[in-house]
């Protein structure tokens, strides 16, 4: 049995009990990366030297009793849109191909304080814009369950690295489903917290009102423990929220008796694969057996979430990405005539197709004459979507549905038709618009052997309810290791 097949918490316990040294744990991860990277391409950057050096320091801190938390010494991978001081942070873009941040993102700093050892930075869709991790400038990541399929996106590298067991856990970010959808495709567990729970300081912004960092791991327990480590009220992020409690692990009880779970009928209509539907409904059945009250209801407005999202996210992106101009950091074009030409040429050469498409759409919907018709209309729609969720949470503790309509598509199948790709986010996007917490966890596989994800959505600040439901469901099944994870065990 490989150390990498353990959950983060299990490995942390072994380190604490001195059964495993931090260096052994980190070396096991580095060996796994060396063996599997050419098959999966989860990482943009791996810094073995720094990780081993840090392992030594952490071991000392554990031995001295300075560090005693559950994640001390456990190796982690960080999505490449979170700044890491002294470590390349590219956002999987050419334009940030040489960017070495002078500071570390708050969520990553919180992990460091908990004793995490950073292995490197994971691949993603460029600037988190995509659902397949194919828009990365550094090549597509492959799905560890089948290398001919995508891992999902945009946190595809983080999810694939966890599924391939190249790291014990990872951080991702979720703007429209970018943690939950790839978690579903890769057969791992990913949590998007309530907006404002984890600081966005040092997260390279895509859609600032929607972006949220969260954990990706093998199980629900890990996600709760990691969330406790990364969540904090941060004055450096004006949208950070001081929560009454940062306890999430006390929700890990196998008890859903009396919990009210709503299944939106609108999530089970056209476009949903039958195998996904059956697996998700079977999961609802398991929760019912454990005493949960499961009912169907009409959420409404589901089909309006995607158009509203693309207006809002692209508008914010067009503003956020204005900073990449070839002056302060990143790529600058070789030849130019004057300042404006330098800006234009730098950006046109530095950004990929999908990023340019979204910046242009965003610039358009914010331009005078279109602002009311598109941008304000989308913000009004967002208000209606939030109201629909508010009504649902008056009746239910948790909303249950699929994380994605299908299992992972084949590489190359999604990019040709953007709207088709966007439709894959139909069950995750409205959660971001309403600022809600959501978790995706494995609930089965399809006939091709690809994982299916169950999504549980909670009201704002009700992470504990979705964690409780997720944990209870998880107890009904064994974690399935991906074929690529099994490689090292042979």
């Amino acid at each position: 049995m490989s150390l990498m097949s353990l959950t983060a918490v299990e490995l942390g316990k072994k380190i604490k009990a001195k059964e495993v040294s931090v260096e052994e744990a980190v070396q096991a991860a580095l060996d796994a990366i060396a063996e599997k990277e050419d098959k999966v391409n989860s990482f943009v950057t791996v810094d073995a030297e720094k990780a081993l050096e840090r392992a030594g320091q952490i071991q000392k801190d554990i031995d001295n009793g300075v560090l005693s938390g559950p994640l001390a010494g456990v190796p982690v991978a960080i999505k490449d849109n979170m700044c890491t001081k002294g470590m390349l942070t590219t956002c999987s873009s050419k334009i940030l191909g040489n960017f070495v941040p002078p500071y570390t993102a708050e969520a990553v700093r919180n992990l460091e304080k908990a004793g995490a050892v950073i292995l490197g930075k994971t691949n993603m869709d460029e600037f988190a814009m995509g659902s397949t991790t194919e828009t990365s400038f550094y090549g597509a990541t492959k799905n560890p369950w089948n290398p001919e399929h995508v891992p999902g996106g945009s946190s595809g590298g983080s999810c694939a690295a966890v599924a391939a067991e190249e790291c014990s856990y990872a951080l991702g970010s979720d703007t429209g489903g970018s943690i939950r959808q790839p978690s579903s495709f890769c057969g791992v567990t990913g949590l998007k917290p309530t907006y404002g729970t984890v600081s966005r300081y040092g997260l390279i912004a895509y859609g600032s009102s929607l972006d949220q960092i969260g954990p990706i791991a093998k199980d629900v327990t890990d996600c709760a423990v990691i969330l406790e480590a990364i969540a904090s009220h941060d004055k450096k992020d004006s949208t950070s929220i001081g929560r009454d409690s940062y306890d999430f692990t006390s929700a890990l009880t196998d008890d859903v008796a009396g919990m009210k779970i709503g299944i939106p009928r609108d999530y089970f209509g056209e476009g949903l694969g039958t195998e996904v539907r059956d697996a998700v409904l079977a999961a609802a059945g398991e929760l019912k057996k454990k005493g949960a009250i499961v009912e169907e209801f009409d959420l409404s407005l589901v089909e309006y979430a995607i158009p509203a999202y693309y207006v809002i996210a692209c508008a914010e992106a067009s503003s956020n990405l204005a900073r990449f101009d070839g002056v302060k950091y990143g790529y600058r074009t070789e030849e130019f005539e004057g300042l404006h030409h330098m800006y234009k040429k730098t950006r046109s050469e530095g950004f990929g197709t999908e990023v340019k498409r979204r910046i242009m759409l965003g610039s358009f919907v914010l331009s005078s004459g279109y602002y009311d018709a598109y941008y304000l209309k989308a913000l009004r729609t967002k208000a209606l979507i939030k109201q629909a969720f508010d009504r649902a949470f008056e009746k239910y503790d948790v909303i249950l549905g699929p994380a994605a309509p299908t299992t992972a598509p084949r590489l190359g199948d999604s990019l040709s038709d953007p709207i088709k790709m966007y439709l894959g986010d139909i069950y995750t996007i409205s959660v971001n618009l309403a600022g809600l917490p959501g978790i995706s966890l494995p609930c089965g596989t399809d006939a091709k052997g690809l994982p299916i994800g169950l999504q549980l959505i909670g009201d704002c600040f009700e992470e504990k309810k979705i964690l409780r439901a997720a944990y209870a469901f998880e107890q009904t099944r064994e974690y399935a290791h991906s074929p690529l994870a099994a490689d090292v065990m042979l």
């Binding site: 907006y195 158009p307 207006v311 990143g330 950006r347 950004f351 208000a383 953007p418």
Partner: protein, 96 residues
């Protein structure tokens, strides 16, 4: 396709977005943006006349704090990322 994006519109958006598209990219952008706007027009099915635009899900307001320097001098590290720098500044093409 209801939304026909003209060459002028693409030109204008290119100016706003500071992007320079070649012929092929421009045609693709016209088609893609047109299709996406058609899709976004679905929002017009909703009556939102009585709904206030919601920019933020929580009633958060600007958060103020004293402007006190807490970090040290990061000049060297910051400039080390610049494509071109001289002494303590970024080098840019002549602007005036």
């Amino acid at each position: 396709m209801a939304n026909i994006i003209s060459d002028e519109t693409i030109e204008y958006v290119g100016i706003l977005a500071k992007l320079e598209l070649d012929g092929q990219e421009r045609e693709r952008a016209k088609k893609d943006i047109g299709e996406m706007l058609d899709y976004i027009d679905k929002l017009n099915e909703l009556d939102t006349s009585d709904v206030e635009p919601m920019s933020h899900v929580f009633p958060v307001h600007n958060v103020f704090r004293e402007d006190v320097v807490k970090n040290g001098d990061g000049r060297k590290q910051t400039l080390s990322n610049a494509p071109d720098s001289r002494e303590d500044g970024f080098v840019v093409p002549k602007t005036i």
